[in-house]
C-alpha cells in the first residue's frame, strides 16, 4: 500500500546529536515537497537522558498532528529500544544498533526506576528476554521489519574514507539515524544533502562525510528491511520556512516592530529570545532595518519591569517566559494594568505546578494567565494553535497592546515552542501594524490619563521624552499623580475596565476570537462539537476530518481569545449544538480542562464531555480518535489520554 502520510520516531540519549538528525530529516522532507512536523521530547538534562523526536510526513499537504504506531523507528541506543518497542506495528521498520544487542535492561542506568519497572513487567508479560536482542526477536516475530546496523562498523568505514579523528566519530551517529529513516522511506542522497547543508551552514566540510555516513545506513536498512512506500512529495510551495514555534514568534515580533525584548532564561521560552538576539541587527543583506535590543535580565521581575520601561518610551516591547517566570512577572502585570502600559508577555506553558515538568508541555496556565495579579485590571489573553497562528498573533498581540494600552498575554506552550514545522513564508504586506492613539503635540499641560479625550476610554499616549508625565502604580489622577479620592478612583477604574468592553466590541468574535472548523457549519448539524485551544488544534482538526469521513458530524471550535472572551458567539454555538442533541467535548492538556471552565464561566453553559491529557506529552491522533469515538458511542464522559513515553 502506498502511504500519503507516515509517522516516524527517532530516539537516543540527550546530547548525542538527535536534534541534528531531526533537523536534517525535516529539511530533507520539506525540500522534497512533503509537509512535515517534528516534535521533540526531552528531559531537563544536558547529556545522557533519553530523548526522542516524533514526525509526521505528508506527501500532499502541510501537517501539524502526530500519530502512532510509527511506520519507522530508528534508535541510537538500548534505552530507546526498551522504551519504544511497543510503538511500532506489523510492517513497521525498526532500526537499532546491533552492537548493543546483548545489553540487558538492568544495564541501562539512565532509565528512570518507574519506567524500568514498567518495561520489566511488560517484558515478563510478553515472555521476552530483557535484552535488546530479546526485544528485537520479539518484534521480528510480530512482523516488524527489523534492521540491525552496526553503528561501529559504519563509523569505521567513515573513518577509513574521511580520516575523521576517532574522538569525533560518535558525532556522526546523528547521520546514521537520519540515513536509516531516509532509507526506510526512500529519501535520496540529494535530499539528505539539503538537510545537512541547512544544519552545517557555515561548516560545509561536514556535509559530505555526513551524507556518506547517512547513505551507508540507508542502504543497509533497505537491504535488511526494504522500504516503506511513501508517495512522492507534491507540495508546490517554491519556498518554505522550517521553524520552531519559538522562531515563528520571534519572526512575528520582528514584523510587529518589537524592538525591545527582555527575558530571563527559562525552558521552553528562552530560544525565542536567543533567536531574536541572533538576528538583533535586522540585517537584510546590507540594508539595515534598525535593531532589536535583547536584554537578559537578572530575573523575571526585572524582565517585565524593563519591558514596561521600554514601552513607556514608545518602543514596542515584549518579554517571553514560562510558568515559574510568569509567576514573578505578575506584580509587573498589575502595574502595567493600572498604568495602562502596552506590553506583551509571551507565555510558553509547560508542566506545573512549581518546577513541574520543565521540558514537557501543558495548557495548565490558562487560568493563571487570566486571573493572576492582584486588583482588577484589563488584560487581553490570546492563544495560538499552530506556527502560522503564532507568528501572526505575535503581530496582533503587539497591536492590541498599543491599541488598548494594556498588557497582552500571548499564550503558547512547549509543544509548539519546540516543534519544528514547515510553513509558508509569511507575507507582512498582508498584516497590519496599529500603534494606537497618540497625542500629536503634547503641551506642558499634557495629561497621560486624560478622562475627556474624544477617544475615551483611551487617553492619547505620549512617550517619555516627548512630554512631561507621571506614572504610578498607585491610583492616580489624570496627570498620573497619586490620588485616593473616591470619585477619581471610580473614574479611573471605569476608564480602565471600559477598555476591555471596547476591545470586546471591536475585535470580531467569529473568525478571530473563535474559529469554527468546518467554517459554515450550523449548530443544528453538529453531532459533536469539540472545544479546544492552542496546540491541540492540528490534531483535533485531523480527528474531525477522520470522524467526518466515518460519518460523525464533528466540528472543532478553536478558542483563541480568553479575554475578551467571545461569549455571545460561543454561547450561541454551544447552546445550539446542545439543543439539537449534539455533544460538546473539551480537548485539553490540563487535569481540569481549564478552557471548558472559562467557557462555562462566560456562557453559563456546561461542557459535559472532556478529553484531557496531563502527562506532558502531546496528544496523538490515534488516541484522540479512540477517545472521541468512545464519547460519541456514549461509553464515557471523560477520557484521560496517556500515550507517549
Amino acid at each position: 500500500m502506498v502511504l500519503s502520510e507516515a509517522y516516524l520516531v527517532i530516539g537516543g540519549p540527550q546530547g548525542s546529536g538527535l536534534e541534528t538528525s531531526a533537523q536534517v530529516l525535516t529539511v530533507a522532507f520539506a525540500s522534497r515537497g512533503y509537509g512535515v512536523v517534528a516534535n521533540r521530547e526531552y528531559h531537563s538534562n544536558i547529556m545522557g537522558r533519553h530523548s526522542y523526536v516524533v514526525f509526521t510526513v505528508n506527501s500532499r499537504r502541510l501537517v501539524g498532528h502526530l500519530s502512532a504506531p510509527f511506520h519507522v523507528a530508528a534508535f541510537m541506543d538500548a534505552e530507546s529500544v526498551f522504551t519504544h518497542f511497543e510503538e511500532v506495528s506489523k510492517g513497521s521498520i525498526f532500526v537499532y544498533d546491533r552492537d548493543v544487542e546483548a545489553t540487558p535492561l538492568e544495564k541501562v542506568v539512565s532509565m528512570e526506576p518507574a519506567r524500568r519497572a514498567r518495561v520489566e513487567r511488560r517484558l515478563r508479560e510478553l515472555g521476552v528476554e530483557p535484552t535488546v536482542g530479546g526485544v528485537v526477536e520479539h518484534l521480528r516475530s510480530r512482523g516488524v521489519r527489523v534492521a540491525g546496523l552496526s553503528f561501529r562498523g559504519i563509523l569505521e568505514r567513515l573513518q577509513s574514507r574521511y580520516q575523521v579523528p576517532r574522538g569525533r566519530l560518535r558525532r556522526f551517529t546523528s547521520a546514521i539515524v537520519a540515513g536509516a529513516v531516509a532509507g526506510a522511506l526512500g529519501l535520496d542522497a540529494a535530499a539528505l544533502e539539503e538537510g545537512f547543508r541547512y544544519r552545517f551552514r557555515r561548516r560545509e566540510h561536514l556535509v559530505e562525510p555526513n551524507v556518506y555516513t547517512a547513505m551507508l545506513a540507508a542502504e543497509e536498512v533497505r537491504g535488511q528491511a526494504g522500504s516503506i512506500d511513501l508517495e512522492p512529495g507534491s507540495l508546490e510551495l517554491g519556498e518554505a520556512l522550517v521553524v520552531t514555534g519559538n522562531e515563528a514568534v520571534a519572526i512575528g515580533k520582528v514584523i510587529a516592530g518589537v524592538r525591545f525584548q527582555s527575558y530571563y532564561p527559562i525552558t521552553p521560552a528562552q530560544d525565542e529570545s536567543f533567536y531574536l538576539e541572533e538576528h538583533e541587527l535586522l540585517d537584510a543583506g546590507g540594508e539595515r532595518l534598525g535593531s532589536v535590543v535583547v536584554l537578559q535580565t537578572e530575573d523575571e521581575l526585572a524582565a517585565i519591569a524593563a519591558a514596561i520601561g521600554a514601552a513607556l518610551t514608545g518602543a514596542r516591547a515584549a518579554t517571553a517566559t514560562s510558568g515559574p517566570g510568569y509567576d514573578l512577572m505578575v506584580e509587573g502585570l498589575s502595574w502595567a494594568g493600572i498604568s495602562e502600559v502596552p506590553v506583551v508577555v509571551t507565555l510558553y506553558q509547560r508542566g506545573g505546578p512549581s518546577t513541574g515538568m520543565p521540558t514537557r508541555g501543558s495548557q495548565e496556565d490558562l487560568l493563571a494567565s487570566l486571573f493572576a495579579g492582584h486588583g482588577e485590571f484589563p488584560r487581553i489573553v490570546l492563544s495560538s494553535g499552530d506556527h502560522e497562528e503564532a507568528l501572526r498573533d505575535a503581530v496582533t498581540a503587539a497591536n492590541l497592546a498599543e491599541k488598548y494600552q494594556l498588557p497582552v498575554i500571548h499564550l503558547l506552550d512547549k509543544f509548539l515552542a519546540n516543534t519544528v514545522k514547515m510553513i509558508e513564508l509569511p507575507d507582512p504586506a498582508g498584516m497590519r501594524v496599529e500603534r494606537g492613539v497618540w497625542e500629536e503635540e503634547p503641551g506642558p499641560d499634557y495629561r497621560r490619563f486624560r478622562l475627556d479625550a474624544p477617544t475615551h476610554p483611551i487617553s492619547p499616549r505620549a512617550p517619555l521624552g516627548g512630554a512631561v508625565m507621571w506614572y504610578t502604580g498607585v491610583e492616580h489622577d489624570e496627570y498620573g499623580h497619586v490620588s485616593e479620592d473616591p470619585e477619581m478612583r471610580m473614574k479611573m477604574m471605569e476608564k480602565r475596565m471600559e477598555k476591555l468592553s471596547l476591545a470586546d466590541r471591536e475585535i470580531p468574535e467569529r473568525g478571530e476570537r473563535a474559529v469554527l472548523y468546518p467554517g459554515g457549519e450550523k449548530p443544528s448539524s453538529i453531532e459533536m462539537l469539540i472545544l479546544g485551544w492552542g496546540s491541540v488544534k492540528p490534531v483535533v482538526l485531523e480527528a474531525v476530518e477522520r470522524l467526518r469521513r466515518e460519518g460523525v458530524a464533528a466540528a472543532y471550535l478553536h478558542l483563541r481569545y480568553f479575554q475578551p472572551f467571545p461569549a455571545r458567539y460561543v454561547y450561541a454555538l454551544v447552546k445550539g449544538v446542545k439543543e439539537h442533541g449534539g455533544k460538546v467535548v473539551a480537548v485539553e492538556h490540563s487535569y481540569r480542562a481549564q478552557a471548558s471552565m472559562v467557557v462555562e464561566m462566560n456562557t453559563g453553559l456546561i461542557v459535559p464531555y472532556k478529553v484531557v491529557k496531563y502527562t506532558g506529552r502531546p496528544i496523538y491522533l490515534h488516541e484522540l480518535l479512540e477517545a472521541l469515538r468512545e464519547i460519541h458511542a456514549g461509553k464515557t464522559g471523560r477520557v484521560v489520554l496517556r500515550f507517549g513515553e
Partner: protein, 337 residues
C-alpha cells in the same frame, strides 16, 4: 499658560524662558513627608542640580520605588515613574535602553534598593548603564512604621523596634563597588549644597552612578539622628591625598581597594564624598553601540516600525534576515543520486 489653574494633583506651571531655576522643577503638590524629614534636603538638592545642569524636563526621567522616597517623582517637574517596590532599577533600565538620549535617575530607599531590590542593584553595576541611583538611606522602613532596613547595623535598637536588630547591615558603598558602579559616593541629606554637587557629578558621569545619601528619619530612627551625623561625618575631600579618580584601567584595582577600605569606616567616624570614579570603563550603551552599530541614533524608541498601517519589514526582508530557515521546495527533483 502661567494662569492655568492648578488643580489638586495637577501639573506645575511650565518652566519659564531662559535659565531654569530650582523651583521650575517643582510641582505644586503638597509634600506629605514628615516635617524635618531628610527627604526635603534630597528633593532640594535634586532640583538645584537639575537647574544648574539645565536639564530639559521632557528629556529627564525620575524613577522611584515604593515608600517615602517613592513619592519623590511626583514633587519634581520632569517625567516621573513611580514603580514597584524594589523594581525602580529595572524599569529605569528599560527606559534608558529604549531611549538612551534621556537622562534617567533612580531614587529609592535603602529597603527598596538593598532589600527587595538588591538583585537589581547589583545587576545595574554589572551593566554600567548610564543611570544615576540616589539611595535615601535612613536605615528604617518608614511607611510601615519603622522596621529595620538592610542598612541598620546588627544590635541597634531604634525606638520603633521591639528588640535590637538581629540582622547585619550591608555596606552599600562596598556593594556598589563590588557590583561595578563606576561612580560611587556618599552624601548627607542636610548638606544640600554638597549633595547637589554630588548629584551633578553623578548625572554627568557616563555609566552607573550611585550616591548613598544618609538621611535622618525624624520619626522612627532615634539612633542615626542629625546630632549623630553632625559628630560622625567627615569629608573625604578634606584629605588632600584622597584621589578617587581612575585615570587609566590599570589604576582601577588599587583605587577600588582603597575605596572599599574607606567604606568600612562606619560608627564614630563616617566618611562622605566621592569614593570612586572610573570613567574608563565602557557604559552599557557604548557596549551596545558596538554590537548594534547605529543603536544610539536609532534606539528602540525612535525606530519607525510602521508605514501607513503596514509593517516596515517586507517579505523580501524576511528572506534576507531569516534566509537560513528557508528551504527551497522542489518536489520534481528526485532520485539524483
Amino acid at each position: 499658560m502661567e494662569s492655568r489653574a492648578v488643580e489638586q494633583g495637577g501639573a506645575p506651571p511650565p518652566a519659564g524662558r531662559g535659565a531654569r531655576r530650582p523651583e521650575d522643577y517643582r510641582t505644586p503638590l503638597w509634600v506629605d513627608w514628615c516635617p524635618g524629614c531628610g527627604n526635603f534636603g534630597i528633593l532640594t538638592a535634586l532640583t538645584q542640580a537639575f537647574a544648574e545642569l539645565g536639564l530639559e524636563p521632557r528629556r529627564t526621567v525620575v524613577v522611584s520605588g515604593i515608600g517615602c522616597s517613592g513619592k519623590t517623582p511626583h514633587y519634581i517637574y520632569a517625567n516621573g515613574v513611580h514603580t514597584l517596590h524594589g523594581r525602580a532599577i529595572p524599569f529605569a533600565t528599560g527606559i534608558k535602553l529604549a531611549n538612551p538620549g534621556l537622562t534617567v535617575l533612580v531614587v529609592g530607599g535603602d529597603g527598596d534598593l538593598l532589600g527587595i531590590g538588591a538583585g537589581h542593584f547589583v545587576a545595574l553595576g554589572r551593566r554600567n548603564l548610564d543611570i544615576t541611583v540616589i539611595m535615601h538611606n535612613n536605615q528604617v522602613y518608614g511607611l510601615t512604621k519603622g522596621q529595620a532596613s538592610p542598612t541598620l547595623p546588627y544590635g541597634v535598637k531604634t525606638k520603633a523596634l521591639p528588640k535590637p536588630n538581629i540582622q547585619d547591615m550591608v555596606n552599600p558603598i562596598a556593594l556598589a563597588l563590588a557590583s561595578g558602579y563606576t561612580f560611587v559616593a556618599r552624601g548627607y541629606a542636610l548638606d544640600v549644597k554638597g549633595l547637589k554637587e554630588l548629584i551633578k557629578q553623578a548625572i554627568r558621569h557616563r555609566g552607573a552612578a550611585f550616591i548613598d545619601v544618609l538621611q535622618p528619619c525624624v520619626t522612627y530612627n532615634d539612633v542615626y539622628t542629625v546630632q549623630f551625623y553632625r559628630r560622625a561625618l567627615y569629608r573625604l575631600e578634606d584629605d588632600p591625598d584622597w584621589d578617587p579618580l581612575v585615570r587609566s584601567p590599570e589604576e582601577a584595582p588599587e583605587k577600588m581597594a582603597r575605596a572599599v577600605a574607606k567604606s568600612m569606616e562606619w560608627g564614630e567616624r563616617i566618611p562622605y564624598g566621592v569614593f570612586y570614579v572610573d570613567p574608563t570603563k565602557p557604559s552599557f550603551e557604548e557596549r551596545l553601540e558596538k554590537r548594534l552599530p547605529g543603536y544610539l541614533d536609532q534606539p528602540p524608541a525612535l525606530q519607525r516600525v510602521e508605514q501607513a498601517g503596514k509593517p516596515t519589514v517586507t517579505r523580501e526582508h524576511l528572506r534576507r534576515i531569516f534566509g537560513e530557515k528557508i528551504v527551497q521546495v522542489n518536489p520534481a527533483r528526485r532520485g539524483r543520486r
